[in-house]
Assembly symmetry: C2
Homo-oligomer: 184 residues x 2
Amino acid sequence: MRRICVDMDEVMADTLAEHLRRYNQEFDEDVTLDDLAGKGLWEITPVDRQQQLRAFLDAEDFFEVLDVIPGAQEVLKELSTRFEIFIATQAMAVPNSLGPKYRWLQRHFPFIPPTHYVFCGHKSILRADYLIDDQPRNLQRFEGQGLLYTAPHNLDVTGFVRVNNWRDVAEYFSHIKAEDCEDA
Amino acid sequence: MRRICVDMDEVMADTLAEHLRRYNQEFDEDVTLDDLAGKGLWEITPVDRQQQLRAFLDAEDFFEVLDVIPGAQEVLKELSTRFEIFIATQAMAVPNSLGPKYRWLQRHFPFIPPTHYVFCGHKSILRADYLIDDQPRNLQRFEGQGLLYTAPHNLDVTGFVRVNNWRDVAEYFSHIKAEDCEDA
């Protein structure tokens, strides 16, 4: 069976929405997703607020309360009947996120077993056929077929197969026939 | 540069010694390593104590206090000058271990960056040239060259390249010439 690795933040979980919500609340701002076209929240944040921007991620409750990106549950449930699904998330930069990410996955994606969670740093470590990720650098390090999941920060990035939403993901994998999913 | 993945429990960290210590203390027993030749602690534990055996692992302090297996630091430090070292540990069966394992690695192996930690379940997910592990099933799932690190439970296992201690690991990799460590 072929194997798909799926990134969590901004692919399965709406990390940016929660980060932005806390940012706007703390600093009494009104930054919108449109303001972030082509750049990350880090890039538009003044130097004297960077420490707080990071502190939002370190909060014990941050990664527990994230919304699920629409379509992720339905599409991954269907794909899990035809592919091996692994969740591969860069958790090591925010060690406080390890427990919350585990619990979030169990709550929202109970059909994916914890043996298929991978909390890692460099995604070059993944042995898989596909990786769905919003970070171009992760796709560059990955040796299989990368799919760039659209997020505001990567709107201007070219050179990757792009999926704009989970409907696009379903469509992409619908073209991969069952016989291609068998191990060689 | 070639990549070596290294398991934590019973390869870098003396998990069994601590598990045995708590077992003997709790149940007023005197089980020794010799009693465990060819089997795991789980196998010699009566059914009515299995729940407690598991509870030892769930304790917040368990994975923080483990001793380092002798030689692991020195040999990994040397190997890290010639190979990419990743730590690959099955952490998902004991989610309480995620934070403690992260802190233990930082404390005892500060020369390995957290971006090279992989907390996973199935080790088939690892893309690496070598895996040093005490669990035969992990080596079977791994696609590169496996090295079975000797532990009481695997003494009778055959069919793998075996390393009895970290001196053996150093010896094994001393035969791999620098030019073999370059990427193709």
